[in-house]
Each structure stands twice: as C-alpha cells, then as structure tokens.
Symmetry: C2
Subunit: 385 residues, 2 copies
C-alpha cells in the first residue's frame, strides 16, 4: 500500500445526504464537501459518488471539473467504505482491497443499519476503473483505522481493531498478519486509543499519521484535565519506544488539538432522530482533530474549526510538508457528521512502476530547479547592468 | 459517427427489470440479456448498467468477464437512451452525443412515464469513461432511429423522426441538418415507415441497416397480404432511387422477416398492467425482424425466433459479413419487451486516429494471412513427402 504522500491518480469522495448524520437535509454538509472537492481538484482528479436520488442535484452543485458518478451508499465516509488501493511496485499495477464494512461495529456498536450499500462501494469503484480486487469475506476494516508509511510500516489503534464489533474471533497477532499480508507491510505499530469520544472506536486517522517514513504527527493536548491528555500521553510513550519496519526510531511531531468543541442546540435540532439511540444533544463533544487532513498531489487539505489553534496547526503542517500548499477549509459541518476531511476522501495511487514514477518526478523537479536558477541568474544579470 | 461495423472499444447494455415490460419479474428477459452480453463479450468488453436494487443480483447472474456498473434507468433500451458516440478521425478522440429522450413520444404517444432516469444515462456513460459530451437540450432522438455508413450517409424513417411526439416544431430539413451537424454526415436517406406495429414509431434499426458504404440490408416479406408488404415495398423503391453521400447507388440485400409472431396468453399474463393503456393481450403482433442484430468486433449477434426463416436470415447475414462469426440467440424474451438485440446494445468506437487503426488492422490481417499461407505450404510439403 503506497503512503498517502506518494503520487495519486486521483481522489474519491461520496455525497452526503443521510438526515440522521447531516443536519438540515445535508445542505450545509454538501457545501463543505463541495469546498473539499474543489480544493483537491486543483491538484488531482476528483470523483464524487452519489445516490441516484441526489444525482441531478449533486451534478448541478459540484464544479464541472469534478466527475460525478452514480454510486450508492448509506452514508458518505469514502475513507471507510471505499477500496483501499495497493500497488505492485514493479509492474505498477494498482488493485483494490475490499474489506468488509459493518458501520463501525455492526450489531455490537455500529452507528446505523443497514450498511448494504456501503458494502458495495469498494467493488463498484474497482469495476468502474477496471481494477482487479482482493475480497476479504471475513475481515472487517475501515480505511480510516490504518495509516502506512509506504515503506513496510502500518499504524493503527487497539481500541478500534480489537473492538468487539469487528474481528472479535481473531487475536491481535492474527489481525496484524492479515493487515501485513494484504497491504504488503512488515510491521504494525499499535497505539492504544484514538480520539476521546470518537464514535469510530478510535480511528488512527484522527490521532496519528505519517509525514514520511520515520516521522509521524501525533494529535496532542497539554491540558492535563482533559481526558484526551492521558490518551495522547500513552500513545506518545508507545511511539517513543517503537521502531518501524526498517528499524528506525520515530521522529514525533506534536500537532495541537483544538479546544474541546461541542454540538450547539441549533445543530442538534437540525438532525433526524428516528429512535432514542440516534438522538444527539446540545453540548456533546465533537471529535475534532487537525490530524484528519488529506494529502493530495502537491497540497494538504486541512480542517479549520474557527479555533485559536487553527493557525498554529497549519504552520506545523506546512513545516512538515514544505513542498506542498496548505489549504485550510472550514470543516465544522463535516465534523458534525462525526469525521473530517480525511474520513470523506480516499486516494487512488498513480499506476506505473515506482522507478518510472520516481524518475519522472526527479526530472520534473530538476527542470523546475533549473528554471528557478536561470530566473535567478538573469535577475542577477539585470541587477548588474 | 463511425459505422457499427468499424472497430469498437466495447459495448454498453442495461439490465432489464421493469415489470410492465418484462414478464415474470424480468427473470426470462434477464437470462436472454445475459446470453447477449456473454456472446458479445467473447469479442469486445461489455458493460452492463443496473439499478441499485438489482445490482447484487445482476453481479451474481452475469458472467465475470462482463463489467457491471450502477447506472439507473427506467427501462433497459441502451440503444435508445445511451450516448451516441462520435469520433474525430484525425485526433482519434471519442465523444458522446446526448440527445433528449422522451420514451418514444413523450406525452403524445410515449410508452411510459417518467423517463427521468433514462435521460441521465448518456451523461453518466460519458462521465464514467471521462469522455466529453455534446448536449442537445431541445432535440429528441433515440439511437435506434438512425444508422450510418460511417462515410457521410445516415438513414432513418419519416414515421419516427417526423412524429408528433418528438421534434414537431422542426421541419424535415431542419431535423436533417441537426443530424448531419452532430453526427458529421452529409446526407440523410429518408425511408417512409418502420416495421408494422413497431411501438417506437418505426425505428430504422428494425427495418434497414448498412453492411458497408453503398450496401444495405432491408427487412422483407413476399406476402402481399401482410400490411408489412407495402411498407417494405415503398422503402425498397426509395432505396432503389437513392444515392448516398458519395453519389453511389445502393446495393440492396433483402433480409426475410420471420412469419408474423404474436403474444401468447401466458406471456401477456406475466406482465404488470397498472392501467388500461399498458394492458397487453394475447394475439398482439410482435415487431420481429432479423435486421435488429448487433455488429461486434469480429461477430454478428443475431436474433433467432424459432421460425422457419431463422436459418436463411443467418445465411444471408453471413454472406454479407464473411469475416465475422454469426452467433444467433433465441431472443423471443427481448422481443416481448418490444425490441431486440440491437435495441439493447450500444457500441463505443475504439479511440485513436482512423489511419492508425486501419494500419494496425491491416498489419494484423496480413499476419493472419501469412500464417495461413505458411500452414498451407507446410501441409503441402507434408503431402508431397
């Protein structure tokens, strides 16, 4: 599995509409999704899958450069329902991995029922793109519960992958073996818990991600009174004492969390709640984290919460990814649904042998460098005259 | 617009399910569609579009080599609802033409309401394939109402294109101009009527088609008592007195029609009929014609009716297309829906400049010829020994 920071062929998203997840008929969320799609499509092709009953509307609302395809889903979390893409570095062939999906815990503690349409998403993506697909009939996984450095190391959380609602019949070791075998990795780094009150059972993609092999970003708070503090601290200790698949110690960059954000009365009132379990209330804490950004070709698409930490987080991310443009997007409406920008996107790696892609990128970089040099020289020449 | 006998990238179909069109929950029709998809997929890639509620079923029933995509429709007539593909011979780029569709006559004499999903089919096909598209906001046309020789000539029927339910505000000349302009043609040959009692207002694809530039097949009956006879005779006279866009006289091959076929009581009883207009009755004549075949790369997929003319029709078609394999398929279940194999298929031309494709095909043919020669020589050599 290539890392998210490796070259993409494009990005997949789904269109939000579920009235129990997205307030006011999903209209505010749709606007936020459109901003994300628009921002990413400046850097790589974006495809948005949509249920037939929202097709005409989505086509009209989305910008023309975004490809809209009919692709039914129960909810709009492409990261978790979509295919995970893997690539053969030598032949350059890209294939999909089609895990089982059970709405984050199935009948144990899943978030909705049914999830039949979500289960078909990965297959439909692969078929549409004419990509072969690995099917796991008996293994539940969401894309948001794993990250890879593209160099043999995976990272995940015990809270999620060892949860009762997923693969309770498998041991931690067995789960690690499945991951390594299907994703072409050698080692899994296991953090303990994900974000406090994250309904996904603590997905890694709200807590920690790779910047490059050997370097990770960790969601962090210095507020010792926040229950979040102990979670972060425990994960920090694990990371400090771990090595990756290649035996490297990890460089850890702390990315501040925003101040605790909560649901407003107005926001809660905009949601359908057909039963007590799905009722949501004013004051509920939201799982907000800047870690939940998307890496596109040449850019980072980063959540913005209107919080005092917004600027600091963006600066840290820019320093971690100096060659990419950081774009921040007000993503509160996505957060209200329970996730953020990373949860609603899924990268498809660029096909082609790694050596060829790296050679092409090196050539491009050299050309840009040469052009800069020339510009500089001619400017100096002018200055001398 | 390339002719159907030019090289294809593949073939598009839709999955039948409408209970007013297809008896017994469309199960017998689905089996017939599967046979068509299977036969074509031996020669070119086939994609079948399906409504979400039949997706899982279609995926299981169709053979693995057929690509199944979610693509909603009101009924399964891909020829008429799908994109018409055109190609720039120099650049080799393929684009779609997206006509308006109104279920064969809209509120005047259309066959069902609504047709909103059908209207989106062409767009979705083009978007899925990342092909640009010409959109005609005010011009109704079904793909089954035109044929082209790929060399500047179109053929159609007045009964259909001048019908009140389509472009009643346009004159025959204006309609011809739209066709020529969007399909890159210079001349339209206008036959009078299509098949007797054909609900499509006489689509050309049940009556007449091109074998090659300058040569057509015409549906024919010698039975002067059949109302069909006068229709055929009138069309024959038109064709005998016409020239094509390049000034050629037309060679006309008569393709016999099967004996009149009618709906059985059992067949009529298997259909939903929510109102009087949609009721169908025992003894109704069916619009059966061998002309309604599909030309795939290297093959013809031809309707078979269990009629005494089946063999003769197949022989004539084989003689017209000596380099293609003729496959006949029992298509009565498709006929019961009102059309046949050509109506449920739509070719997508192979992209690439015409000169390159022709050169590649010539090379392939030369190689095959050389291989045959060599085989022959070595056999002769063995015979001499």
């Amino acid at each position: 599995m290539p890392a998210e920071f490796e070259p993409h062929a494009g990005c997949w998203m789904l269109w939000p509409q579920k009235p129990e997840t997205w307030r006011l008929g999903a209209k505010p969320a749709q606007k936020a999704f459109i901003k994300v799609a628009q921002a990413i499509s400046k850097y790589e092709p974006v495809t948005v899958g949509v249920n037939e009953d929202q097709y005409a509307n989505a086509v009209r609302m989305l910008p023309e450069e975004v490809r809209v395809v009919e692709l039914a889903s129960n909810d709009a979390w492409m990261r978790d329902t979509g295919a995970t893409f893997v690539k053969n570095d030598e032949t350059g062939e890209v294939r999909g991995v089609d895990w089982r999906f059970n709405a984050w815990g199935g009948l144990v503690d899943g978030l909705y029922f049914p999830w039949d349409l979500d289960e078909q998403v990965a297959r439909k993506m692969c078929d549409m793109e004419r990509l072969d697909r690995y099917v796991l009939e008996d293994f539940v996984l969401e894309g948001g519960s794993i990250h890879t450095d593209g160099d043999g190391t995976l990272i995940t959380t015990e809270e999620c992958l060892l949860s009762d609602g997923r693969n309770h019949n498998l041991s931690k070791e067995e789960i690690g073996e499945v991951l390594c075998s299907y994703l072409g990795a050698d080692k899994v780094i296991w953090l303990k818990n994900g974000l406090y009150l994250d309904e996904t059972n603590g997905h890694i993609d709200n807590m920690c991600c790779f910047v490059e092999p050997g370097k990770v970003l960790l969601a962090w708070t210095d507020n010792e009174k926040d229950p979040q503090y102990q979670i972060c601290k425990e994960n920090l200790e694990i990371l400090e004492n771990e090595t990756d698949a290649k035996g490297r110690k990890l460089e850890i960059v702390k990315l501040p969390l925003p101040s605790p954000l909560t649901l407003t009365e107005e926001e809660a009132a905009g949601l359908d709640a057909p039963d007590e379990a799905s009722e949501r209330h004013e004051g509920e804490r939201l799982p907000a984290s800047y870690i939940n950004f998307y890496i596109s070709n040449g850019a980072l698409i980063v959540p913005r919460f209107g919080d005092e930490k917004d600027a600091e987080a963006a600066e840290i991310l820019q320093a971690c990814f100096p060659d990419r443009t950081v774009t921040t997007i007000d993503s509160r409406e996505i957060l209200l649904g329970g996730g953020n920008i990373h949860c609603i996107t899924q990268q498809q790696p660029l096909a082609g042998p790694r050596s060829e892609i790296e050679a092409a990128m090196a050539e491009k970089a050299a050309k840009e460098e040469a052009a800069k040099e020339q510009e500089k020289t001619s400017e100096e020449g002018e200055a001398h005259e």
